[in-house]
């Protein structure tokens, strides 16, 4: 996957382009581990994400946990539809805590009936 990275005063903006699916997660994980070292505030702009599945979602969750563990901030913006659908399904809006912009039609497709409350990331985290 390609990553466009901009370093700004507030931190680093990361724009991935491509797929985040089971086929790519191993590779992306390696890339992300390196990228994540470069700043303490990370803005992940997902506009360029073509597709995402549960494996990809899991990777994002794991990234979130890593940032939490290392006192880094992670903000995700410009969620593509596929990701919003997964967040709605698994009730993970609260997990990530990001603002998700939804139009009125989108609110009907993805009601976010549950999972919007912030939860304790410490509890989800497995420690080795």
């Amino acid at each position: 996957m390609e990553f466009e990275i901009h370093h700004v005063s507030e931190g680093a903006t990361i724009l991935p382009r491509g797929e985040l699916t089971i086929y790519k997660v191993a590779q992306v994980q390696k890339q992300l581990i390196e990228i994540v070292q470069t700043a303490d505030r990370l803005f992940l702009d997902l506009e360029g994400l073509d597709s995402i599945d549960t494996a990809g979602l899991q990777l994002l969750m794991s990234l979130k946990l890593y940032c939490h563990q290392h006192n880094k901030e992670l903000q995700i913006t410009n969620h593509p539809g596929a990701l919003i659908a997964l967040l709605d399904l698994y009730g993970l809006a609260g997990f990530f805590g990001d603002k998700i912009k939804l139009g009125p039609e989108q609110r009907q497709t993805w009601p976010f009936a549950y999972g919007t409350r912030k939860i304790s990331l410490d509890e989800v985290l497995t420690r080795p």
């Binding site: 699916t21 994980q29 563990q69 009907q108 497709t109 549950y114 939860i119 304790s120």
Partner: protein
Amino acid sequence: MDFSEANDTFFAECEELLSKIESGLLVLESDPRNEEEIHSLFRAIHTIKGSAGMFGYESIEDFAHTFENVLQKLRDQQIQVTEALIDTFLKSRDQLATLVSLASNAQSPDEACETQSNQLKEVLLAHLSGLADAARTTEGSVLQSAAADADQAESDPVPDSPVEPGLTATRHLIVTLHFRTQTFRDGFDPASFLRYLREKSGFIDVKLLPATLPALDQLDAESCYLSLQIELRTELDDTAIKAIFEFAADDVELSIEPRDATASPPGSGPAALTPDPAEQSTGAASQLASVASTDTSTALAINPAPEDLDDETEAEAAKSGNNRNLTENKRTFLRVDSEKLDVLVNFVGELVTSSAHILQIARTFGIKEVIESTEELSALVSEIRDSALQLRMIPIGQVLNKFQRIVRDISHELGKDVELRIFGAETELDKSVIESLSDPLMHIIRNAIDHGIESEADRSAAGKAARGTITINSWHETGEIVIEVSDDGKGIHRERVLSKAMELGYINAGENPTDSEIFKYLFYPGFSTAGSVTNLSGRGVGLDVVQKNIDSLRGKVGIQSRTGAGTTFQIRLPLTLAIIDGFLVRVANSSFVIPLDMMDECIELGHDDHVDGQMDVMNIRGEALGIIDTAQLYNLPDSHTTVRRNIVVIRYGDQRTGLLVDELLGEVQSVIKPMGKIYGKLAGIGGSTILGDGTVALIIDVASTLELARHARALPGRLPDRKLVGA
């Protein structure tokens, strides 16, 4: 290694396989116990999946994988063939075709396409859990939402009636799901199952179990760590819920508990994650522990390696005592670039002209050995020519078979029961002609289903079988190919067509046209007597386009109909290949070529049988033979009776007619040059050809010549009427 060629082969192979899959599915629909067909479908999808994987087309591989899994269950007889299943399979095949098409244009599927793929995958998985009827509902709502505009609300699933099996009164449950590490690697996405479960029940809450997921540096990205607890309200009973996950049973551990009053209510926020921390975490830990220990033992039960799969399928193919596969393999086919074929045919054309020239020169010089040799050469060139032209001939069945699917889809759409029967599928015609025929035939078939075949109720009332039949029949006649499309519907309403034609000014009051004359106005622009305009037809734009298409193929189309019994469209196309075997004759100062296969015999007129232009019937061995004076027909200067004249007897259908000509000049083989646009549709002439000596001869189009003569003088007999082909 150069993959680009292999890549092209992959796409070509996929196209063939997808086409085979479609016809296979239609066969399976009418013969649900056809095991051989199931095996063949499985192998086809398996091949697509494997090849796609090899070339890195993940979306295709992924989709085919799910498709294959369902086929496998079918093959293992764990699920049955139902109409809903076939429907799903057909839609899945279409989606696969779309994915392949995108890939062949080096495009990736967009979000809408991905959504469609996901939804179809869910429907496929739904069939696995045996909830075939439920799948129908899901299909209805799931696929509708795929087609719906973005601003339409997603429809709620239709509630099942409580009396159906697998359902109870609404229960409030906690369903705990532990997805094992291998889940992703085994090709599953938990989201599919969750979505389906959510469709069938109301999710109140979904929680992650604690201590599930490691941080990024500790993560094995391809392993699945997800453990979820879902609180829901449902009418499904435990078996039904388990059945949803049954397909991935090896990869998911599931437990169902009633949510009783002692558990913390859903609205308690952060505490919800740790309602009873001690119990919850030990519970989770113990479950995880049991997962770990059973992991290795169950790991082997999961999908066998691809090599094993191939051995298995091969062994099966050998075992299944039928030899169809083997006999199919005996005929090998070669994939040829059609441009190369065109080049070859061009050269053959030149060869024919050249050898004809040589033959003529040889005859002029009159040297016996040379003439013999060149005649031998001509014969060989003839063979080459025939073979080359045969290369371009394809059985019409290839075009006709795809109509099976279309008839099925349209009849479902219109709520009629219609069957398509095809005869004469092996009749061959030129490749380019076949391509042009597809659209006109489509129009005619749509008309037949839309306006011809009545509803089941009407048919029963009329004493007909509830299932309507459309028959396509195809055969060769001398120099032509005939294609008939018949239906056993209600026929064309003669009076309505007549009054419409009068309304449009094509027929005047007081005229008394025959049925076929009336029906030919249906091909005129703006003509539609349909009461209502449907999606498919009735807009008055159908049949005139059909006429145009067939005109461009220099063919003819006609209609016959009987009220209450049905309608037949008959298309005749000339089989005039680029090179003609003809017989050269002289009429006055002009040369004409008569197609050899339309000729029956030649008769030399004696001096006493001189023709005075009035004679139009001759007695030939007791047969009354109509005679056309060709010179008169084409207004050529009269040649005089000092020259012995001849009659060339031509056959059209079952009608024999004599053409009166001056001189018989022998057989020729030459390349047909079509008449230039300026000549439009010249009655009686079907093209021109250049003779060996460079002069131009006109080729007589027998059909239109006879028509021309018929109008010019009252020729005994009529153009032959073909009988309606009975069911």
